[in-house]
């Protein structure tokens, strides 16, 4: 396997910039190709690469297909991108499979409509998925949104450790057009800030169990270590092949006076050294703005708890039931402890033991022992406890962590293949291994960031929330949500597959008529996915009905996040006459 060219791979692919808690995602439109090219060339030096460990600020950049086209990328290269990227996130078929309908329909998005939706509608002849008349009139009004004049071309991701650093650097990167024309216009600036304790707004620890790229020095569990070609173009993937990538032949200089073809700057293609690889060290980046209806989520659970817990029980009993139901739907407790390891309470079973022993060691002044136990605690919380587990041995029937939970759907680990008689036998070990192998083909690196200021009324300093206070409100005080970012080399096989086959499919293995209880496209009008959630038990299962959609899509697009040499090439191409 060839070593990862970290100096060329953008930093976000290999690290989350977790130390930089502030970030803005600037959506840009290229107005002047040539000026934008110059701006890009200048920017390329600031873009952080895989080697950088930024302490104060970082910048990453990605482009839509329309953006690359507008910047004048060669048609041969443009044709080399995947079909999903070329078509973009908004097509009728894609909206159907990603679950972007109802309130989440692209017609209602704040940004990201690449093409007027009714144009697609007329493309889709013979489809019975036509929008109602009401929607059609809607479309016409908001037509300008999807028009060429404001289409998203560039995503500029700027990270910083302080608010001040962020704004000053943003000014530096995107100068006032009156002072220095960068050729790009801001469409929208999506702000974000991390919540304490790496929580998301529903109150759960997010971003655990990321796949690790094989070849990076950091060690991780083998089942989480994935071939680099799943996340970066130009490397072998899990099948042992190179992902498709846009490549171009270098123009041969006819006489000395001609300048060098900028393509000679690009890395050579790994599988065909005769051509240059624009995609090498780059990757596809999926961006979705997801609004979370926090109050509605907890209010629903509370209502359910009220009807399930007999009235003679205490409030504490009801709260515990509500919290457990939420955890069942997520698959982890708010702290991140997975249900499969901590089925009854939000605490790792071994944690108490370790802490007890640690207290004893501290008392007796055994510093060495304390240090060892501290390490053990860290390992438990960060690695083994957080993601080194399967479902097969401990929880084949979903009694601890339901099959339909978000965690088990989004990454089924070793229980993808359902076997009716799944009691652990030799034959089933084979099934388990093949499930592990298959799951590896459908992983993404998540780099999402929450948006919306933490709500002080209900969020503690450590990021945990107080559901009773959430429910006491009539609505969320402001828009809360997540700017979802997914990194993968094959949008169809990774992001779209997870979203469609695992989260939205109402017939996911071992569940019937259910969609993902957190991210799924539950739709009360559709019998096939009317929002049911089943939590198996040793006795009669609990079935929760009439789930709503608590996560609403507000915008989104497919981007390509090129390698740094490719950014320079793009700048040179656009900047040339």
């Amino acid at each position: 396997m060839s070593a990862l060219q970290l100096e060329d791979i953008q930093g976000l692919t290999v690290r989350a910039h977790a130390g930089l808690s502030r970030a803005v995602f600037v959506l840009l439109h290229v107005r002047d190709k040539k000026a934008a090219g110059k701006w890009l060339t200048g920017l390329a030096d600031s873009v952080s690469c895989g080697y950088d460990r930024p302490q104060e600020r970082a910048v990453q950049i990605a482009f839509t297909y329309a953006g690359l086209k507008k910047l004048g990328l060669d048609p041969v290269l443009l044709a080399g991108f995947s079909r999903e990227f070329q078509e973009g996130m908004v097509t009728p078929h894609r909206s159907r499979s990603l679950g972007d309908h109802g309130d989440s329909a692209p017609t209602k998005w704040k940004w990201g409509r690449t093409k007027p939706y009714d144009e697609w509608e007329s493309d889709e002849q013979g489809s019975d998925e036509r929008e109602s008349d009401e929607n059609e009139s809607d479309e016409k009004e908001s037509d300008a949104q999807g028009s060429e004049a404001s289409s998203v071309h560039i995503l500029l991701m700027v990270y910083a450790n302080k608010k001040k650093t962020l704004s000053s650097w943003l000014e530096e990167l995107l100068p006032d057009p009156k002072v220095n024309d960068s050729g790009v216009e801001r469409i929208d600036t999506l702000k974000s800030r991390m919540l304490p304790g790496n929580k998301e707004h529903f109150g759960f620890h997010d971003g655990i169990s990321q796949p690790r790229i094989a070849g990076l020095k950091r060690c991780a569990a083998p089942q989480n270590t994935i071939a680099p070609g799943e996340f970066v173009l130009g490397y072998l993937n899990e099948y042992g092949y190179y992902p498709d990538s846009p490549t171009i032949e270098e123009k041969v200089k006819e006489d000395e006076k001609e300048t060098d073809d900028p393509a000679s700057e690009l890395p050579r293609c790994r599988w065909n050294t005769a051509v240059r690889d624009f995609g090498a060290n780059g990757t596809y980046l999926v961006f979705r703005q997801l609004k979370q209806r926090v109050r509605d989520f907890w209010a629903f659970l509370d209502k359910r708890a009220e009807s399930d817990v007999p009235p003679h029980e205490t409030d504490a009993e009801r709260q515990a039931y509500r919290g457990k139901l939420a955890a069942k739907m997520v698959g982890r407790w708010p702290s991140g402890a997975p249900l499969v390891l901590a089925p009854d309470r939000d605490v790792y079973p071994q944690l108490a033991e370790i802490e007890e022993e640690m207290a004893a060691a501290e008392e007796s002044g055994d510093d060495q022992r304390v240090a060892v136990l501290k390490d053990a605690r860290k390992v438990l919380l960060d690695t083994t406890g957080a993601h080194m587990f399967g479902y097969y041995e401990g929880d084949p029937d979903g009694v601890a962590c339901p099959f339909g939970s978000h965690l088990r759907r989004a990454n089924p680990r070793d229980t993808l293949i359902d076997d009716d008689e799944h009691t652990p036998t030799d034959k089933n070990i084979k099934h388990r291994l093949s499930a592990v192998r298959i799951t590896r083909h459908h992983r993404i690196i998540r780099r999402g960031r929450p948006y919306g200021k933490p709500v002080q009324d209900w969020m503690h300093e450590d990021g945990s929330i107080e559901p009773d206070r959430v429910i006491a409100k009539k609505r969320d005080p402001r828009e809360l949500g997540l700017h979802f970012i997914g990194i993968n080399a094959d949008i169809a096989r990774q992001f779209e597959f997870i979203q469609h086959a695992w989260l939205n499919q109402s017939r996911f293995p071992a569940v019937a008529n259910e969609v993902d209880p957190i991210l799924g496209d539950a739709d009360p009008d559709d019998k096939r996915q009317d929002g049911t959630f089943t939590a198996p038990s040793n006795l009669v299962r609990t079935r929760v009905e009439d789930l709503q959609r608590w996560v609403q899509v507000k915008g989104g697009a497919y981007f390509f996040m090129p390698g740094i040499r490719a950014i320079r090439y793009l700048g040179a191409v656009a900047g040339a006459k």
Partner: protein, 432 residues
């Protein structure tokens, strides 16, 4: 006795001058909503699981690779998956859908003209033009449409019963819960009978293994030639390779795929129809027939639990050789998305599919019939999409059930009968 499920494939040659009118008619069926249309009353046909009308267009396919194959034959295919005997199925077709059949098949060569169209002449035509599939696979063997729908309803009812009586049931042991469910079912469905068995006996399996071994021995001499043919195919591929497709070619390939995709993911199931020329020469055709025959016999005996080589999502699939041994047609009804289905192909059934499709034109490079081939994920997916053809009309009798659910529902139904231990009752309850 489990019911027999059959596959009908009627292949009719379209009169070239009527091609457009045929496509217009088929589109009209789709536009009118395939479940409700008067043009072809699928729903009234009680024996049909899935059905499709398909025009094998005479256009060339669009895919990456050499284009050295004949134009497609202009054929119309009627394909159904049905219960019971072929004779009964055909009579039901003619009886109930006679006028619709006439309107569609009237575009084809040799179909009795308006005046001559009697029940018998149409039946005769259908029989004459139906081809036995080389391979036929059933995901939920032995179950009729009626049983499938009934068991789905039964399950729904039991689920509802459990929900409504949750407070009374939640502290009971599994056997007691099952007992209550049995009482409930007996009250609501007084005529309920245990479902017939769906699996083959061990003796039959043993006999089969012996036959399969004999078959493999018989074909051993062919293997001697195999590598030579594969090498030659590799050379041919290299020689005929279009080094770089132009952006316009890629665009048209992408548009082709987008056109296929827009027909997908409307209901729980999806369909695929794929037509590809068999590699020229007698050798490949013989190997292809042998492989297809082996899978055909393997499937009902080994893969009798709703999983074809580990793929748990196929309702019915078939391979048919059409056009005088020159074309291989694949048709399948599966659960979930295309991407998921193709992924399952590669992950579970790579060897089997490579053994079949490596005998056809343009398939990714293969070693020893079983290896490589479809393991080249991107190339394989491109190849399948490139040879996939649009299915004009497609009907599913139970558009919201997966193979897994059908099999689960039968297990729930069967579990209402017989003596169970506490542990077995627990397993039964977990299916709900």
């Amino acid at each position: 006795m489990p019911s027999r499920q059959g596959a009908l494939t009627v292949v009719a040659e379209v009169k070239p001058e009527l091609k457009t009118s045929l496509l217009v008619l088929l589109n009209a069926i789709v536009d009118a909503d395939v479940e409700e249309t008067d043009l072809f009353p699928f729903k009234a046909l009680s024996t049909i699981h899935f059905a499709r009308w398909l025009v094998l267009d005479d256009r060339r396919g669009r895919w990456r690779g050499p284009l050295d194959h004949p134009p497609r034959p202009l054929l119309l295919i009627l394909s159904t998956n049905y219960d019971g005997s072929l004779k009964d199925h055909l009579s039901e077709l003619v009886q109930i859908a006679g006028p619709g059949l006439g309107r569609v098949l009237g575009h084809c060569v040799g179909f009795p003209s308006q005046g001559m169209r009697t029940r018998d002449s149409v039946l005769k035509y259908l029989k004459q033009h139906s081809i036995k599939p080389a391979t036929f696979y059933r995901g939920a063997p032995g179950r009729t449409v009626t049983q499938i729908k009934y068991e789905a309803e039964l399950r729904e009812k039991i689920e509802g019963f459990l929900d409504q009586n949750r407070d009374n049931l939640k502290d009971l042991d599994p056997l007691a819960v099952r007992g209550r469910s049995q009482e409930y079912v007996a009250a609501v469905f007084p005529d309920d009978k245990p479902p017939p068995p769906t699996r083959f006996k061990t003796l039959k399996k043993l006999l089969f293994v012996i036959r399969l071994l004999l078959g493999v021995l018989l074909h051993l001499p062919l293997l001697v030639l195999l590598r030579r043919h594969e090498r030659r195919d590799d050379q041919r591929r290299e020689a005929g390779r279009v080094d770089r497709l132009t952006p316009a070619q890629i665009r048209s390939h992408n548009e082709w795929i987008a056109d296929l995709a827009r027909r997908e993911d409307h209901i729980t199931q999806n369909q695929i129809s794929n037509l590809v020329p068999v590699r020229p020469g007698w050798y490949r055709l013989v190997v292809l027939r042998a492989v297809l025959a082996a899978i055909d016999r393997l499937a009902p005996v080994v893969y009798d639990r709703g999983q074809l080589g580990g793929i748990p999502t196929i309702h019915f699939a078939r391979w048919v050789i059409v056009g005088r041994g020159r074309w291989l047609l694949f048709m399948s009804n599966y659960d979930g998305s295309w991407e998921e289905y193709l992924g399952a192909f590669i992950d579970h059934a790579s060897h089997g599919l490579t053994a079949v499709w490596s005998n056809t034109v343009g398939f990714p490079r293969t070693k020893w019939l079983l290896w490589e081939g479809s393991r080249d994920e991107r190339a394989f997916k491109d190849w399948v999409r490139g040879h996939q053809i649009a299915t004009q009309v497609w009907y599913s009798a139970y558009s919201d059930l997966t193979v897994r659910q059908i099999n689960q529902n039968t297990a729930i139904h069967a579990g209402l009968y017989g003596n169970l231990t506490q542990q077995q009752a627990r397993m039964w309850l977990r299916r709900l």
